[in-house]
């Protein structure tokens, strides 16, 4: 019974919303409008559950101690610190803004900036023409990079003038790589993902897929 009722609700809601999409009638639109309202309310419950779970897990980690406890403590301090900062000055949100501009922004930017160093180092060590596929990837990546940077336009412009080459060619090559081979493969992936999504949704609506009840499918 604990599984059957949610399954029935899931089936009715899934089927109703799928059918509703194809019926442009005012009653159908009213159902849709109400469902969207419900979705927002349910979403709020999701936030509450997520918030509770997050606190629960990290408070337990801090209590237990161990190597990861300081990280959990930082998370809890950040979480409650931000909430308190917002509560203190709810009208103008000055403290909240201060935290965003002076803590989150520099931290976020720093972490992302570090990636540049790792990417360059990793590209030197790993971006090698070991196989045909790797060579194709390498050539495409270098051509896109060449076509993307403004310095190419300066150098190519000069070359084009001196040697009578076609102007803007590196940029056109980059656009072609992105608009033809890249797009073809992307489209294939999207079609696969789309069909997979439809199949998965049907499995959930029909109660074949039950992983969302917990304990695996």
């Amino acid at each position: 019974m604990r599984q059957r009722i949610p399954l029935i609700i899931c089936f009715i809601c899934g089927l109703t919303m799928a059918v509703q999409f194809f019926i442009p009638h005012q009653y159908s639109q009213a159902v849709y409008s109400e469902a969207v309202n419900w979705l927002r309310v349910i979403g709020v419950f999701g936030f509450v559950i997520g918030f509770g779970t997050l606190i629960n897990i990290h408070v337990r980690r801090v209590m237990r101690g161990g190597a990861n406890a300081p990280y959990s403590l930082v998370l809890l301090l950040g979480l409650f610190g931000t909430i308190i900062a917002w509560l203190i000055d709810r009208e103008k949100e000055r403290f909240f803004d201060w935290i965003f501009y002076n803590v989150q922004m520099p931290l976020d930017s720093t972490i992302f900036s570090l990636l540049a160093f790792f990417i360059v180092s990793a590209a030197y060590r790993a971006f090698r023409a070991r196989t045909l596929e790797a060579t194709l990837l390498l050539v495409a990546a270098v051509l896109v990079m060449i076509g993307n940077i403004p310095i190419t336009d300066v150098v190519w412009g000069w070359l084009a003038e001196k040697l009578g080459l076609k102007e803007g060619l590196p940029g056109e090559v980059k656009d072609w790589i992105l608009a033809v081979p890249n797009m073809a493969s992307r489209r294939a992936i999207y079609l696969g993902v789309g069909l997979g999504g439809v199949a998965q949704s049907l499995k959930i609506i029909l109660g074949i897929e039950r992983a969302h009840f917990g304990g695996g499918g």
Binding site: S33, V36, N37, L39, R40, G43, V44, F47, E91, D97, F100, Y101, Q104, M105, D108, S109, I111, F112, A116, F117, I119, V120, S121, A123, Y124, R125, F127, R128, A129, R130, L138, V142, M145, I146, N148, I149, P150, I151, T152, D153, V154, G157, G168, G171, E172, D175, L178, A179, N182, M183, R186, R187, Y190
Partner: protein, 273 residues
């Protein structure tokens, strides 16, 4: 030895960012990509008073990629006397959007509530997109200054997607796809996007299918847009993306040289074996 090479590479990257930054080296933008031109042309074609909505769905980590696009886009809309409404579906996008509006509006003498409005962050993602198609007031009851939406002069005639001529999603994640599913497919909303370098390649099928008017691709796109609207003249400050692209040029050159050296080393090692 490996550690030394790694440290040498880190030093080179550091210097190739620092030196152009200090010397102020600048390269012209050159060729404008078709997708950036398409967004520019579409906004140019809108009559005065048309409404452009901007969704700020990114965070501080991608500021160099997306924030210049935001500022250039707002400046272009203001230049064309269009009405601009902004909001964020990512909590981290809220202060960034607000800052972009404030900086550009101040320099261009635009009035809040009449020329532009900012609603701030709303939770719900796809639900927000769906409800905007019904009635914007259902999700944005008030703006970020806590003024009821009904009391904002600019919002008098804006009720749902039918009143928005173009919606631009500035994104660092999968929000563009979600906008396409909920706003374009269901309500026929005209969409464009400004995205980070990582997700540019994902956008091409949507451009070709006509689901997106165009895409402004990352810092490069931002620099192109700054060039198109003559940003430095319009706002009296150098474009953030144009400066960034010159620095990126040097780093990319270094990257290509290192890749070439790495491959040369690989070929020589294979021959020795």
């Amino acid at each position: 030895m490996r550690a030394r090479i790694r440290w040498a590479i880190y030093l080179l990257v550091f210097l190739s960012v620092l030196i152009p930054m200090l010397t102020g080296i600048s390269f012209p933008v050159g060729r404008i990509s078709e997708s950036t031109q398409a967004v520019f042309d579409y906004i140019e074609s809108l009559p005065e008073g048309s409404v452009v909505a901007i969704s700020f769905d990114y965070g501080p980590s991608v500021i160099p990629d997306v924030q210049p696009i935001a500022k250039a886009l707002i400046a272009h809309c203001f230049k064309r006397n269009l009405k601009v409404m902004g909001f964020a579906l990512w909590p981290t996008g809220e202060p960034l959007g607000r800052r972009a509006f404030e900086e550009v509006a101040e320099k261009m003498g635009k009035v809040y509530g009449e020329d532009y409005v900012y609603f701030g962050y709303r939770a719900g993602y796809s639900t927000v997109m769906l409800q905007m198609g019904e009635d914007i007031r259902k999700v944005f009851e008030q703006d970020y200054r806590k003024t009821p939406t009904d009391r904002i002069p600019m919002m008098k005639h804006i009720r749902n997607y039918k009143d928005i001529d173009l919606l631009v999603d500035l994104a660092a994640g999968d929000s563009v796809e979600t906008w396409i599913v909920y706003a374009y497919t269901k309500f026929g909303q005209k969409l464009a996007a400004g995205v980070t370098g990582v997700i540019v390649s994902q956008m091409y099928p949507y451009i070709q299918a006509g689901q997106l008017v165009g895409v402004i691709p990352a810092m490069r796109g931002g620099a192109e847009y700054e060039e198109l609207i003559d940003y430095s003249k319009l706002l009296g400050e150098p474009g953030m993306a144009k400066t960034g692209m010159s620095i990126q040029s040097i780093v990319h050159l270094l990257l290509m040289i290192l890749i070439a050296i790495g491959n040369l080393e690989f070929v020589m090692m294979r021959r020795r074996r």
